[in-house]
Symmetry: C2
Subunit: 339 residues, 2 copies
Amino acid sequence: MAMTLKELGRLAGVHPSTVARVLNDDPHQRVSEEVRTRIVALAREHGYQPNHLARSLRTKRSFVVGTVIPDIANPFFAILFRGVEDAMAASGYSVIMANTDDDVAREQRSIAMLRGRQVDGLLLATARRHDPTIEALAAAEFPFVLVNRHTDPIRGDAVIPDDHAGAVAAVEHLIALGHRRIAHIAGSDEMSTGHTRRQGYLDTIKRHHLPADSDLMVPGSYREPGGYAAMRRLLDLPETPTAVFAVNDLAAAGAIRAIEEAGLQVPRDISIVGFNDLSAAIGTARLLTTVRLPLYGMGEAAAERLRARITGQPVAPEPVVIPVELVVRQSTGPAPVPA
Amino acid sequence: MAMTLKELGRLAGVHPSTVARVLNDDPHQRVSEEVRTRIVALAREHGYQPNHLARSLRTKRSFVVGTVIPDIANPFFAILFRGVEDAMAASGYSVIMANTDDDVAREQRSIAMLRGRQVDGLLLATARRHDPTIEALAAAEFPFVLVNRHTDPIRGDAVIPDDHAGAVAAVEHLIALGHRRIAHIAGSDEMSTGHTRRQGYLDTIKRHHLPADSDLMVPGSYREPGGYAAMRRLLDLPETPTAVFAVNDLAAAGAIRAIEEAGLQVPRDISIVGFNDLSAAIGTARLLTTVRLPLYGMGEAAAERLRARITGQPVAPEPVVIPVELVVRQSTGPAPVPA
DNA sequence: GTTGTCAGAACAATCGTTCGTTCAAGCAAG
DNA sequence: CTTGCTTGAACGAACGATTGTTCTGACAAC
């Protein structure tokens, strides 16, 4: 059915390799103008499309990369991925996506599958601070780039948000509003995002000599129900916080739900800051004070970095740290005066 | 670097094809137990991973499918895609995704690219009612399945929501609440979703002999700003509607924003029904009365159908119509009594 | 008339698998 | 002792594209 070089060569009365040279614009150009035009016309006429499989087998370059993410149904990763896909497509790469639901075994299986498919490189949004799978990849010198989350110690091939600066900005903002009892709904300490944001929170609290009770730091999750549950616990505290810095917008949304359910108001009674600024994707977050992260751009940057790695271009040994920006909206306000 | 059959054969002192037979569990099993164990041990020891590219070239089956969608950053398609990816991965297929932003030229380029990559089939969520690209695919007898949107006339290989029934249920609900001036924020008439939902709206309005002014049917879009703009136009009408059926949840969210901005309340002054039930993904929609569509399941069903088409299993000639369900929440209420 | 040069095109190996065919040896039957 | 069958394994041709090498004339120079 599909036209091949061999068949095209037969039709043009030349050797298949000659057809290849014409169609690939061989730099040496060792082919007459007459033959060239004949072949080009024939190729167009029959709608010739090169078989990427055969080409890849021969050249050992598949022009396919793999992207491993926790869950594409999470808008965070969807927007990030969109940046990746657009940037990759622009340089002729296709992307195969694998969802892991943050399951280590699935991550390993996905990576093995992708390598079996001879992908030229891997974009991983699933890194844990201690991650043997990634260490193995690095040991094998397989081209990959981490995005959003990084390993500890941080490795060069990573494109990550400035989690620490974002957390500091969020907490400084709350302190400037007069809050003193500031809680943190934390992410997972196994992930750099959770760890670093918590660290930024702690550093800022301590610098200002504010209470850093362990009660005020509750493990949440990156999802709405986790934020809700964490906030419930904070509300049950003998001395409830007047402000909360949540590890991300989803957790913040859950916290707001818990607060309103308890008959309190945001920000009158309790102020909330989120992280990521998914307001474009999540309606409720429209009024949320949060730390904006250029997700799409981060995806593009990661893709660009991977492309450089694959083509062997020199890349700076430092990770790319994406600057973040505090966006003040209506979920934060002055600390309530104690009754 | 990577181990091949040939190399494994050299190490085991057998022909590469023998290694292949062992590792592929050749049904004829024409290999001695001794050789088998030797080869299996060797393969494990060297971490042999078959090269899918070479296999695909030979077998003409790539076990990769392409999925063409408007925009993965839209939660609707993200959830749908997740269903597709999970189902496909379960049968050993990988998925390459292409985003088109509903641009016809990009759709064509994407399909050409995917076919060049020798995908075994295509899942298209971008169909227009009149779609030459899809007609060409059908003419070439290339395996594909349409999902969510279909062509006119509807072709067998499609997995689509019951748009008409959903629209009827939505409008009947509003009529049962006493509404008589019911507007429709429409989608694109070029898409089956927009067209059929509008048709369901019209059919129901007419059956109940309600006013079907063309003023009441405003073209919106599938996005929030489009819903907002459309609602603004409806509010400017001399006789404003008391209820609105929006083509989807995003448009409904925009409409609600316009209503609240105008100092009116939902549902006290105006009732709103959406479509798709993206409440899990979009916070604002939590209170929205809408038509629920099992998106993830629709993706799974489409993937399953495509798998059947690829493997040549007999498939029913009718399209798969996914049933939908009206979910009544807080955005609809009784019609206000005229002043 | 021989040699050299060069353009234009053919040739052939290769990538890693797959799979239909062939082959060799062992053994039983005639 | 031949013939035929079975079993286990090798052989080799694909699949379609790429690319270094070789070949073939034509033409010019000596």
